[in-house]
Symmetry: none
Subunit: 87 residues, 2 copies
DNA sequence: TTATATTTGTCCGTATGTATG
DNA sequence: ACATACATACGGACAAATATA
């Protein structure tokens, strides 16, 4: 289990760091529209955080319309919204 | 079956109380090596907890090598390899 | 083979309590 | 008080594996 670079002491809270990381993956096309994101459980393992923290990160993407979540199924990359969703 | 004594407000969380109870059963020989443990459904009824809580208890035993689980079948007492540590 | 029931596996939604800065 | 994070718990839903009819 290779944990990603998350610094709990950085000014940016972990859930935002994770969100930024996932957004970068989407923008690089590593996560294409319609494709599933890692499950909450996988995110907790990948980043070494609690489930609530992983969920908070997903909430950021959801609020930006970058992903949608299906109960019991997972989260998926939204069908190409508009380009230029920089921070 | 009669529900076991689980106190949701004790310092020890329910899943650990259940794990301790099952471990005691194994150590008393009431659950012999190779014998099936109660199903998750039965554990929820016996202890009055949610399925996830019963699963968390089983996970404790699995991590200690006391049991093994077969998908679609159930969990079984491991063939005594080494004695588990006391808590 | 097909169908059904049981059991475990994997998800997400939500809530509470504790702790820290 | 508030935001953040972790641990724990309950619930619902569906998939996958297994066993049996």
């Amino acid at each position: 289990m290779a944990a990603r670079e998350i610094d709990p002491r950085a000014p940016e809270p972990p859930y935002r760091q994770i969100a930024a990381d996932l957004i970068a993956e989407i923008e690089r096309g590593e996560l294409a529209p319609g494709k599933p994101l890692p499950s909450e459980k996988e995110l907790t393992e990948r980043y070494g955080v609690a489930r609530n923290t992983a969920r908070s990160a997903l909430a950021v993407l959801r609020e930006r319309g970058l992903i949608y979540t299906v109960s019991g199924r997972g989260s998926y990359v939204a069908q190409s919204v508009s380009e230029g969703e920089s921070d």
